[in-house]
């Protein structure tokens, strides 16, 4: 992905759609705060609205682009650019049989970013009926790799044997 921003830093922390929406909300809050404060250091504004980690990322980006944090308009422009970048994020919808732990989310997100791109985030929904595995919807495609489907196929193929056992 070609841009002027080090997007890997931005997207690295954005694993899920929820996190992405939260990040966007933080940027919007920061922008609102910037409108109110015309002068002074905006570092505190960032710390207050973005959270420590994201604020650090933004500061790092500002440093790399040589943007003065006390420069209101430059900072504003930067935030708008970041917002624009984030709006281009791609969503991979996952239906899982469980509520994933943070570790599972982390590992899954890592795989997705490694194999599909940094700008892909996960949108996870729980569906117990799939029993295991996942149903994946991405880029207009829908694939069922759930345990339920696998078992259905097994039972179909082994139907006669099962009936013989019943009899």
């Amino acid at each position: 992905m070609q841009n002027n921003l080090p997007s890997s830093d931005i997207f690295k922390n954005l694993r899920t759609l929820k996190e992405t929406e939260e990040f966007l909300s933080q940027i919007n809050n920061t922008l609102e705060s910037l409108f109110k404060i015309k002068r002074g250091s905006f570092s505190q504004v960032l710390d207050k609205n973005m959270g420590a980690e994201n604020a650090q990322i933004l500061k790092k980006i500002a440093e790399e682009k040589k943007i003065d944090l006390s420069n209101h308009s430059s900072l504003e422009k930067l935030l708008f650019e970041i917002k624009q970048e984030i709006s281009k994020v791609k969503v991979l919808k996952l239906y899982l049989a469980i509520d994933p732990t943070p570790q599972i989310i982390e590992n899954t997100s890592s795989w997705v970013k490694e194999n599909l791109g940094e700008d892909v985030v996960l949108d996870i929904e729980r569906d117990e009926t799939i029993l295991g595995g996942a149903i994946i919807s991405f880029d207009g495609q829908y694939k069922d790799f759930s345990l339920r489907k696998t078992l259905d196929e097994i039972f179909k193929s082994k139907r006669n044997e099962v009936f013989a056992l019943i009899k």
Binding site: L131, I136, R159
Partner: protein, 234 residues
């Protein structure tokens, strides 16, 4: 002479003519009246004469009618009296003859009725005997025929019963085999349904057991495997 005088003369002449005409008319009218009166008198006389003649004729006719009626009455009385005497004589003769006849008839009827009664009794006796004989014969015939009929009926009934029995047996056999077949089919159908149900239960239980039996790590692995498969599938 001027015109006025001429006119006056003309008028006078006209008046004269008119008066003469009137005079003539009056005279003729009076004569006519006289004639009418004389005719009227004649008519009255004639009427009187006619009335007189009429009354005379009526009186004469009345007199004549009275005479005729009196004569007829006398004659009728004579005839009646004659017939009455003849009537009483005839009546007496008739009564005598009638009495004699009645006596003769009574004796004849008495004899005839007695003969008739005897004859009736004889005939009745003979008829009774004949009837008894006929009744005897008939009852014997009836008995004989009835016995034959009963025997025939019995044999027919036996045959029919056996045939009906056979038909019923065949029908029962058919229905039984049909029922057996249905029962068998029903049994197979129920068995099939039961097997299907068991299969479904087995399937669902297996799925639930497998799903719940997985650990978090196994779930994670399955998720990654699914993603790998999706990537390979494109």
């Amino acid at each position: 002479m001027n015109i006025n005088q001429i006119v006056i003369l003309d008028i006078a002449f006209a008046l004269l003519v008119v008066s003469v005409a009137l005079w003539v008319m009056v005279i003729s009218y009076s004569q006519l009246l006289k004639k009418m009166n004389s005719y009227q008198r004649q008519a009255d006389d004639l009427k009187k004469q006619i009335n007189y003649k009429e009354s005379r004729i009526i009186d004469e006719a009345r007199e004549k009618a009275r005479e005729i009626i009196d004569e007829a009455l006398e004659k009728a009385q004579r005839v009646i009296s004659e017939s009455q005497s003849t009537n009483s004589q005839a009546k007496k003769m008739l009564d005598d003859a009638l009495e004699a006849l009645i006596k003769h008839q009574i004796s004849y009827f008495e004899k005839a009725s007695q003969d008739f009664l005897n004859e009736y009794r004889r005939e009745l006796g003979a008829l009774k005997q004949r009837s008894v004989q006929i009744a005897r014969n008939v009852s014997e015939d009836i008995g004989k025929h009835t016995l034959e009929e009963v025997q025939d009926f019995d044999s027919i009934l036996q045959k029919e019963t056996i045939a009906a029995q056979k038909i019923v047996e065949d029908k029962i056999e058919d229905q039984y085999s049909g029922a057996q077949k249905e029962v068998e089919e029903y049994k197979n159908e129920m068995m099939k349904k039961a097997e299907e149900e068991i299969y479904k239960i087995l399937e669902n239980v297996s799925k639930i057991a497998l799903g719940k039996g997985l650990s978090l790590q196994e779930h994670e692995q399955l998720i990654i495997d699914a993603l790998e498969k999706a990537k390979k599938a494109g």
